[in-house]
């Protein structure tokens, strides 16, 4: 299927209050990042507060329908349908709330000078509702699929360990958490206060 209306895309509600409409995954686009976002209600978050400092992406946020109030680098701008903001500086903090309940924002991104690769956050976003529903094995499978292409991705390994710990796969959780911490020591620090690891915090081998 080569065409879809944005309203017919899957709705993945995320903890920060915005709703991810996974365009790239729907079409399996491999050349650039592209996704749509909606809000749960007027006044709700529609683009999460974030920077692209880690990924280094240039991003465009186009208001496809409705109106949104963007905050970019501390400045506020109200954008209506047909308006867009291009954030060329990855370090700039940006986010938006929907002014109208049916607002849709289309986000396009990529890193200059390098071929596009799928961002790990897509897997984590896709797994979020599965985790909330206690469907651990499905959420774990999504992470395993992503890790097959990027076996040393620290954040994916850490998130996988969280799901495994919650899902009762304690030894797998320890292995993957230790691997994440070995690749990026900050994950050991995260793990010490992360409720996901409550069941295995006392196990031998838990990162100190």
């Amino acid at each position: 299927m080569n065409a879809v209306h944005v309203d017919d895309l899957e709705r993945i509600e995320l903890d920060d209050g915005f709703v991810w409409r996974p365009v790239r995954r729907y079409f399996d686009i491999r050349a650039f990042g592209v996704n749509a976002y909606t809000a749960r209600e007027a006044g709700g978050q529609i683009v999460e507060e974030h920077s692209e400092g880690v990924l280094g992406h240039e991003e465009i946020y186009l208001v496809l329908r409705g109106r949104a109030r963007f905050t970019v680098g501390g400045d506020e701008h109200e954008l209506a349908a047909g308006q867009l903001v291009f954030v060329s500086d990855p370090a700039l903090q940006r986010g938006a709330v929907a002014i109208d309940a049916d607002t849709v924002v289309l986000a396009v991104g990529g890193k200059p000078g390098v071929a596009y690769t799928v961002s790990a956050w897509e897997t984590m976003f896709a797994a979020a509702p599965l985790g909330r529903a206690g469907r651990w094995e499905e959420a774990i499978a999504l992470h395993q699929e992503a890790l097959a292409g990027e076996p040393d991705h620290p954040a994916l390994l850490y998130n996988l360990a969280c799901l495994e710990a919650r899902g009762g796969r304690h030894l797998d959780a320890l292995l993957h958490l230790r691997r994440a911490a070995a690749l990026e020591p900050r994950w050991a620090e995260h793990a010490r206060s992360d409720d996901d690891f409550a069941a295995i915090r006392g196990e031998p081998g838990f990162p100190a």
Binding site: N2, A3, V4, H5, V6, D7, V23, F27, I29, R30, A31, F32, V34, A36, H57, E58, I60, L62, L64, R65, V72, G73, D75, H77, L79, A81, G82, Q83, L84, V85, F86, V87, S88, D89, A91, L92, R94, V104, L106, V108, G109, G110, K111, P112, G113, V114, A115, Y116
Partner: protein, 213 residues
Amino acid sequence: MSGYRIVTLADLDRIEVPGSPVLRPLRHELGVTAFGINAFTGDETGDLVIEQHREEGGPEELYAVVTGRATFTLDGVAVDAPAGTLVHAPPELLREAVAAEPGTTVLAIGADIGKAFSPSGWESFTLANAYRRRGELAAGRAIVVARLTGSPSDWKSHYNAARFEALAGDTDAALVHLRHALALNASEVRKLAPADADLDSLRSDQRFAEAIA
């Protein structure tokens, strides 16, 4: 403030080329370097908004209908696309779209799979030629020079640089670019140059005759 820009699609320049959709040059306007992105407008019902083409060996593309309504034809199958519709076009897909309502705007996003993005020559030359037709020769020349900087081994970039330098009256620069273009693709340049009116200012120069002989 640097680091971001806000744009209204309807306020973008209109690049009108007979027989082609009206190009709204978003990527050039913003200086996007990570992916291709432009908009096309059909003012009236039936206006072309996406030319019939494939991108074989080229970019994967996504079209988003921003305003109005379009009718896409994808490998011969008609698809009704009201505002909010997203259309995915793998490189080999034959695609075309016309406006099904007045004031239809379609955003086109594209990049090659597995390669770092670089702007297409099509975009640069379309813009440069449009500026030249409006009498904005310096603006067109600047686009061609920028294109050449990024693609120094592209014969079309040298050939177009020769045209713009000739139009600007810099015969020496024009001939240098023409020689570069000939070195890179002699058969195409020898087909185009003899009848290209943009090169007329060079024809009385002996070096031109020698180059394309």
